[in-house]
Symmetry: C2
């Protein structure tokens, strides 16, 4: 019986270096900071068109297509259905969810010829929600998970590292729709499993870490990070298996301390102590403690931060934390998203004369200065919000600013002498800090975020009115998940993980070809034999890149082969006189001498093994 | 020997209607004017996201992917190499070629967070030129032809007809690079041949017509049109095989007429004759010609047009043409691109008191009023340009306006009484007009432009400095071709060409599935047998859409099958009791009764035939 899909149609055409649209560069491009960027440029996989915007050359496009194919196959295997949304979208849906404003300068906005507001989508929650609303109306229609592999836009303040943080990039985004939370858990788990299979198939090392959900909203959220020293993300792990993005690390709060017997707070003269180090020194000199010396951890440092909200409003907040810890602005940013956070400026401080730089204390902040009867957050409440590190628990006693130059207050006690507006995860996480689940001391590492899965919950469905009839005929709001993989970034991460000093070394699953055949010298017989090998391999379904350039030296050809990173290099050259060709694995391992009659079968076998 | 590409990996997964993300609509959408738009919406292939901007649902995406695959295969077979450019591009290259301004309101423009100017690319000539300049430097590197299949943007004034004229759409654009004109001819022909194969494989009827090259610049240009009454383009063909887009039709110019014996021009009183019909009537009444009556073709109609140039300048031009012809604004627009053309307004005329509405004559226009010593087009030359239809040749005598209300001049003779600035293809083309190559009378028809191939020449290479060393070591400017296929538009054209009153009827090559298996009734045995057939077909590589919905009536299932348009419909139902299933070809032809044991083999054979 004949098949509707003849095998022959899928046989790959060999690529020939003599005509392939590629030029390798011997020098590193000036703006390339990381290996993947440097090597993808040098090997002629991509070219820069504008900051954070890249053109894909033939070899780069082949690798990208293979990464996409793996992602697509696993999405389909997980039951997700592929759709494709426009990149150019009208403002309305993003206005309905507030994200038109929340995205701030990260959003590319434009107007059409009629003055209608549009955006280049950074992500598509709104559109998927509206599409399901358009098609579906009953619990019987659910669950459904949809995905697309599509070009996305984000006007990054600092596009960097080539494909790792670009402004136009390829993403797989998927969205699940369920009637209830249990269903969401199931859909989330299906995507989570698919992500694990994807990264395993791609041979990309990964860790799954707890994450904050940021501007997406929602509850549960995990990131897939591939560990690498050049990663922008910091994560923690404990010996007992706790992992989290550093932004998501929860500081274990100590038990409250009894303070019935605590001495009363007392203001002391501490001249010229604007820094913690100097304060500790002066405290020990002028106000020593009998049992042991004062340490930075005995002081309460109050850091003034300025938030810029999406509506443009600027708000000052003060964060109180033990003096031996610094504020981690990325952790703070995750708390206040979508507002932007920066240290307060001199102007900010000048506008608030109560804040005495270097001597700020909680007594003038937050609930401590609120007039009687005014509620926290009410319009009459104009106090500066005061948030503290979770270690600043009730009953703890601190040396902190007395809001007067050269003065600090000692034994200021939480819950007795001052109140707070709440706690905040603002302090840096340090190696050795305890894991929140008691699983041991944390280790810090860096990684690239390659995937992110969220339980969005009902935020988008509510904002856009996505309801279905439930089993009782009642309208219920649908609950959603959102699942992203940075496809072009994954390709960069693969390059980052698979290279050496002289070039790339792709895993066979994503390599632009399986075998790089290099014909050396000027002997016509060499080129004829190489052609036969190339044809033989292609006939077995092996993808071949064939260096058939007649006037290029063997040295240049070998350098190019090492730079381009095809996993198996077959050298057809002088050995041919003895009936021998050489097979070199690019990623390391010993070169083999193989009889020319056996090379097609031998190499095909190796390719099948590499692809398994 | 094991193959590196196992066949099993390519086996298609059946689609199940019970879970497929699709909902058919019984009613036509309000805004859908043409069949393809109406049916693609009703059958759940696409949804509108904004005017001219569509979302692809699973079935639509499958068809689009198949059209893309055919285009890609034929591009690769023609030796073109695939790359991929960003859609978001910086202004600079488009400024260098003048197109940043020339595109006018058709271009989506935006600024990034630093105020840099960007555009959403409507086409990529500039970027391809710069990329080849970046990589190549010698004649030895050429020829090369590159292509991409990519999302493009054009801010159409009137997006319409669904995918046929959208604002975000998928295009294949290819560009060839050669050192000399002969090479360009070869590259052009290779693409032209590939286009023919593509449309033949897709089963899409097409004509190749001569075209104008418009804003692209360049010399030779042909369009591929698919004939359909709903097409936006008008083309002509002659019995002898001449074909052209109506904009490109060249009017054969008659031989000059001797005018030594012609009577002198004489102004006559022709009261209230602002129209040609009225003028002919009055001329015959008041100034009859002895031999035969005056006809509209004896009058010279002068039409005032207003051009808006890309720099915003507004210019009036007057077009003189035989009074029995109307101006075809689309033909005029093709001449003046990138300027925009419209009929002059009352305000335009009011600002030029010399132009007496209804009585305009050449005597106050163009070279006829130029002061001595002023050259045409020089800064001192402020006369209104006067261009005439090619039929207005030297020695022809005309009745035309005398630039005074109620007055016309008779026997005004070209070359004796007035001069012109040149000729223009502005007059409408009519059925029966002679083909310019003498191949007989023209017939007019309408079509959708599905492909366009251009010999760009050196315009872009010159503007962007793309030179290579030639064989003599001299820098020469590269010559280019540009070749486009509207991929999403081709899909709409296929729907337009393959439907009936009740739905779509896809060719097997692009259908979302090859076979639509419909299980009817409530009998579990029917569904079990249908499952076996579906699995059997899938095992043969046949793509199956299986209507497995348990509670949907046979009538609804059949309606859906007819609407969705899969080429073969297999009905598994009551006949099963007699061991029979029914196979219905969607596009027409008799249904067959097939024994259930043979249906997999039988239908697979039919699919193989349809795909051949």
């Amino acid at each position: 019986m004949s098949s509707a899909r003849p095998v022959a149609a899928t046989l790959p055409q060999p690529l020939r270096m003599s005509t392939l649209f590629v030029r390798t560069l011997r020098e590193d491009p000036a703006d390339a900071e990381v290996a993947s960027h440097r090597l993808l440029m040098r090997a002629g996989y991509v070219r820069r068109a504008a900051p954070g915007i890249y053109t894909w050359l033939p070899l780069g496009l082949r690798v990208l297509a293979k990464v996409e194919a793996v992602v697509r196959e696993e999405m389909v295997a997980a039951g997700a259905q592929e759709v494709h949304f426009p990149a150019l979208l009208p403002r309305d849906p993003y206005e309905a969810t507030g994200r038109w404003a929340e995205y701030g300068s990260n959003l590319f906005r434009l107007a059409d010829r009629r003055g209608g507001d549009y955006l280049l989508a950074p992500t598509h929650e709104e559109m998927f929600t509206l599409l399901v609303k358009d098609l579906y109306s009953s619990y019987k229609d659910l669950p459904v998970t949809l995905f697309q592999i599509q070009t996305k836009y984000r006007d990054e303040a600092r596009p960097r590292a080539g494909l790792i943080r670009g402004r136009e990039f390829v993403m797989k985004d998927a969205y699940s729709f369920n009637v209830d939370d249990e269903g969401l858990d199931t859909s989330y788990q299906l995507q989570r499993d698919a992500y694990q299979r994807i990264f395993e198939r791609l041979g990309l090392d990964y860790v799954i870490v707890a994450a904050t959900s940021g501007a997406m909203g929602g509850s549960r959220s995990e990131e897939f990070l591939t560990p690498t020293p050049i990663g922008e993300d910091t994560f923690v792990r404990s010996p007992g298996g706790y992992t989290a993005n550093v932004e998501a690390v929860v500081t274990p709060a100590p038990e409250p301390v009894p303070y019935d017997d605590a001495p009363a707070a007392h203001v002391e003269y501490t001249p010229e102590t604007p820094t913690i180090a100097r304060l500790v020194q002066v405290a020990n000199e002028m106000h020593p403690r009998p049992d042991r010396p004062w340490e930075a951890a005995d002081t309460l440092k109050n850091v003034v931060l300025a938030l810029t909200h999406p509506d443009g409003e600027r708000e000052l907040v003060v964060v109180g934390l033990p003096g031996d810890r610094d504020v981690d602005l990325k952790r703070v940013a995750a708390v206040f998203e979508p507002a932007e956070v920066e240290p307060a400026t001199e102007e900010d401080l000048a506008a608030r004369p109560l804040l005495v730089k270097g001597y700020i204390g909680p007594q003038v902040l937050g609930p401590n200065v609120r007039p009687a009867g005014v509620e926290v957050g009410s319009p009459e409440d104009t106090a500066i919000r005061y948030l503290v590190d979770p270690r600043v628990v009730e009953g703890t006693r601190w040396i902190t600013g007395a809001n007067s130059s050269g003065q600090h207050v000692f034994d200021l006690t939480v819950g007795r002498d001052f109140a707070v507006d709440g706690t905040i995860e603002a302090a840096e996480v340090r190696a050795g800090d305890p894991a929140p689940d008691g699983s041991g001391p944390l280790e810090l590492a860096r990684g690239i975020e390659i995937g992110h899965i969220f339980q969005l919950g009902r935020k988008y469905a509510r904002a856009l009115g996505l309801q279905v009839l439930d089993v009782n005929g009642k309208q219920v709001t649908v609950t959603m998940g959102s699942y992203g993989i940075g496809v072009s970034r994954v390709m960069a991460a693969l390059a980052e993980a698979n290279h050496d000093d002289v070039g790339l070394a792709w895993p066979a699953q994503v390599a632009p070809a399986h075998v790089h055949v290099v014909a050396t010298g000027k002997d016509a017989a060499v080129f004829e034999e190489a052609e036969r090998i190339v044809a033989g391999l292609a006939g077995q379904g092996v993808e071949v890149l064939y260096d058939d350039r007649p006037k290029v030296s063997p040295g240049v050809k070998f350098k190019d082969a090492e730079l381009l990173g095809v996993p198996l290099i077959v050298v057809v050259g002088r050995g041919l006189a003895e009936g021998i060709v050489e097979v070199r694995p690019r990623a390391g391992g010993d070169p083999e001498k193989v009889a020319v009659d056996e090379v097609v079968e031998h190499v095909t076998g190796q390719v099948v093994e590499l692809l398994a």
